[in-house]
């Protein structure tokens, strides 16, 4: 009799476990999906070289080439150094940002003509980055305390089965964010982002970002998109980023993230 009870209890446990697992497999929450995506950014160091093209509505192009170094500490604070390689009138300029905590970041800019690093203010998250269609907010990782997440369902994008997640700013972030919401298309297999739709503060779709040409850059399962296209649907202005290389979790000298390094001319 006792062994029958044990068998029934084990069967019940197995049933509950199986039921909840299959339920979760079918219906993960929006935040779970975004957290899976966030694992893509669990790096200690990252180095990349990319070309940025700014294309206006009449097709006129501006091309910038930059090299970017970044590192993340144990508290996920990110430091980044960006060096401008071209065109000639911005070559030698460099930008350094050091995140000390979630709301404390120092930013310095080096312009060859000034011959010294200059502290600059943080500005608004909704400011454009380097004259592109990207804002600083677009380039930041998601802070899970500042947004709510809602799974809208599944949708195929470019033939890839994706989760569709709505990300909405909450609390103080609702006032400072440049968006009323963003809708992410996240790969169901490898949890990378294929597309983001951006809605302005009046809840109209006004930008979308499409990421393609994914490559595995580090184990386990860290992918990067080598081509990014951000298009402003109102102004018809477009920004493309084409990465030449990514190096993830390779050694980068700590002293690179300092004003000393910023002022070095090479």
């Amino acid at each position: 009799m006792k062994s029958l009870f044990i068998a029934l209890f084990v069967a019940l446990l197995f049933f509950i476990s199986f039921f909840t697992q299959s339920l979760f497999a079918q219906q993960p929450s929006g935040i779970d999906i975004m957290k899976e995506n966030d694992k893509q950014f669990n790096f200690k160091t990252e180095e990349s070289t990319m070309t940025m093209e700014l294309i206006n509505s009449s097709g006129k192009k501006r091309v910038r080439s930059v090299k970017r170094y970044s590192k993340r500490d144990a508290n996920k604070n990110t430091s980044a150094l960006i060096r401008f390689l071209s065109p000639a009138d911005v070559k030698g300029s460099a930008y350094l940002s050091i995140e000390h905590s979630a709301n404390d970041e120092s930013r310095h800019l080096y312009l060859p003509a000034l011959k010294k690093a200059r502290r600059i203010s943080a500005g608004e998250d909704s400011d454009n980055f380097m004259g592109s269609d990207f804002t600083y907010e677009d380039l930041d990782n998601i802070d899970f305390d500042k947004y709510s997440f809602k799974l809208l369902g599944s949708e195929s994008f470019n033939g890839i089965d994706c989760h569709k997640v709505e990300v909405t700013p909450i609390g103080e972030n609702e006032k400072t964010s440049g968006y009323s919401k963003r809708i992410y298309f996240i790969d169901k297999k490898i949890y990378v982002i294929h597309k983001i739709d951006f809605y302005d503060r009046h809840n109209s779709l006004f930008k979308h970002l499409i990421l393609t040409d994914f490559k595995l850059v580090s184990s386990p399962g860290i992918y990067r998109a080598y081509n990014w296209t951000m298009e402003n649907l109102k102004t018809k202005h477009k920004t493309t980023l084409t990465y030449q290389n990514f190096k993830v979790n390779e050694d980068i000298d700590e002293s690179l993230f300092s004003t000393r390094s910023l002022e070095r001319s090479n």
Partner: protein
């Protein structure tokens, strides 16, 4: 003639070199860059016997090499040809230095530009590098490199910079026919206006002996929200002190002007502090002149802020700088309004800048002197025609109370328009 030959040689290098340079750039050992700049300045009012325009070509070649992580080399040569003012023609080595890097110390040896200070437009702590003032309102990128050894020692977040220069280099001042050399034709003597004749005595330059070496030391640190530094400089002031003596020949008043370079010590400090969306900046320096008649110490400081106002019109930002510049001196001392060492005694300065679109920008820089009741306004429009090619159109407006004998009011007839086309390569 010689200048023209060198100029043509420079252009030839530009034409011939790209292939060589591109080949070498692939492995990032050498790079050749620089710019070509074409400028026209036209004064609204003409003055007889003076230079009433600038029509200038400038080529700057910059050669950079980083053969190793431990050292690098940089050199820039400027070729300047002013068709209206031959006194501004020059071929000169702007900077040439070697950098040596080690984990704790960086050394830079050679002709170089060393700039200190955190305020904008006026830096009382920056006294090492002289400036070409031949056009007083156009001093952008007009620093004159000095031969020096600069060492930077790093200890944690602290940085100590030491500078020693064995040679003296003076700043450059407007030539006698420049619109920025303004001697009055008549002077008042006992209430009677009489013709005036000005002469400049030859200036004796400091000798480059060991006792004339110049030194500087600067200690700085970056905190999370604040950058600050304190500094000390002992050396020659590259702007001389000028005294004048008067004699009479008939009805004419002869004014003989004598300029003397003198040593001074400068003790300074500066900071840059992030306060929310504002950056508060301050810089001050105590000057201790030596070996001149008027050797009283004086203190100059700048305090101000900058801020970016985001999304003012659509996604366009407005950048604002505002500063107060003040000189504190003994009550019994009065400096002349056109004394280059004391130009800004009680001045407000501002700069606002706004993007019109991604290719066009508009800015206005303005200064007002409370002491002399005079102003300077410079509106500027910049058009980025394509990558590396920029066109600027700007104007200079000066004026104020002439009775106060200040600086800007003295040049109120020098309002002008400037156009510049610059190609960076």
């Amino acid at each position: 003639m010689k200048l023209n030959r060198i100029y043509i040689f420079a252009i030839s290098i530009l034409v011939i070199f790209p292939k060589l340079v591109n080949a070498q750039e692939n492995d990032f050992k050498y790079s050749l860059g620089g710019f070509v700049e074409l400028e026209n300045h036209s004064f609204f009012k003409e003055k007889t016997g003076m230079i009433n325009s600038r029509n200038q070509n400038t080529v700057q070649l910059e050669l950079k090499s980083n053969l190793s992580d431990s050292y690098s080399f940089f050199s820039s040569v400027e070729f300047r040809n002013d068709f209206s003012d031959p006194n501004r023609n020059r071929v000169y080595l702007k900077e040439t230095y070697i950098d040596l890097y080690s984990p704790k110390i960086d050394l830079r040896v050679g002709k170089q530009v060393i700039l200190w200070g955190k305020s904008d437009g006026f830096n009382p702590t920056s006294n090492i590098t002289p400036i070409d003032y031949s056009d007083i309102l156009d001093t952008d990128d007009e620093e004159i490199g000095i031969f020096a050894l600069k060492s930077n020692f790093y200890y944690g977040d602290w940085e100590i910079q030491g500078v020693i220069s064995p040679t003296f280099q003076s700043s450059i001042f407007p030539s006698s026919k420049s619109r920025w050399q303004n001697y009055p034709d008549f002077l008042n003597h006992n209430g009677i206006s009489k013709p005036a004749h000005f002469t400049r005595e030859e200036v004796s330059m400091p000798e480059n002996k060991f006792k004339d070496f110049q030194y500087g030391l600067r200690l700085s640190r970056n905190f999370n929200n604040v950058d600050f530094s304190i500094s000390y400089y002992q050396g020659w002031n590259d702007i001389p002190s000028t005294t004048s003596s008067i004699s009479f020949s008939g009805d004419t008043i002869n004014v003989s002007m004598q300029s003397n370079y003198y040593k001074h010590q400068v003790i300074g400090g500066d900071f840059s502090w992030v306060l929310g969306k504002y950056i508060l900046k301050g810089e001050g320096a105590l000057f201790l002149p030596q070996g001149i008649i008027q050797d009283d110490p004086y203190f100059q400081y700048v305090i101000g802020f900058e801020r970016v106002f985001s999304n003012i019109i659509d996604d366009k930002n407005l950048f604002v700088i505002a500063q107060w510049i003040h000189e504190i001196k003994p009550d019994n001392i009065e400096y002349k309004g056109n004394d280059f060492n004391h130009l800004f005694q009680r001045n407000l300065m501002t700069r606002i800048e706004m993007d019109i679109n991604r290719d066009m920008k508009f800015s206005v820089q303005a200064m007002y002197s409370l002491k002399y009741e005079e102003f300077y306004i410079k509106p500027e429009f910049i058009y980025n025609i394509s990558d590396g090619l920029n066109f600027s159109l700007m104007a200079d407006f000066l004026g104020g109370n002439k009775g106060k004998d200040g600086f800007f009011s003295n040049y109120s007839e020098n309002n002008r328009v400037r156009a510049k086309l610059k190609y960076n390569f």
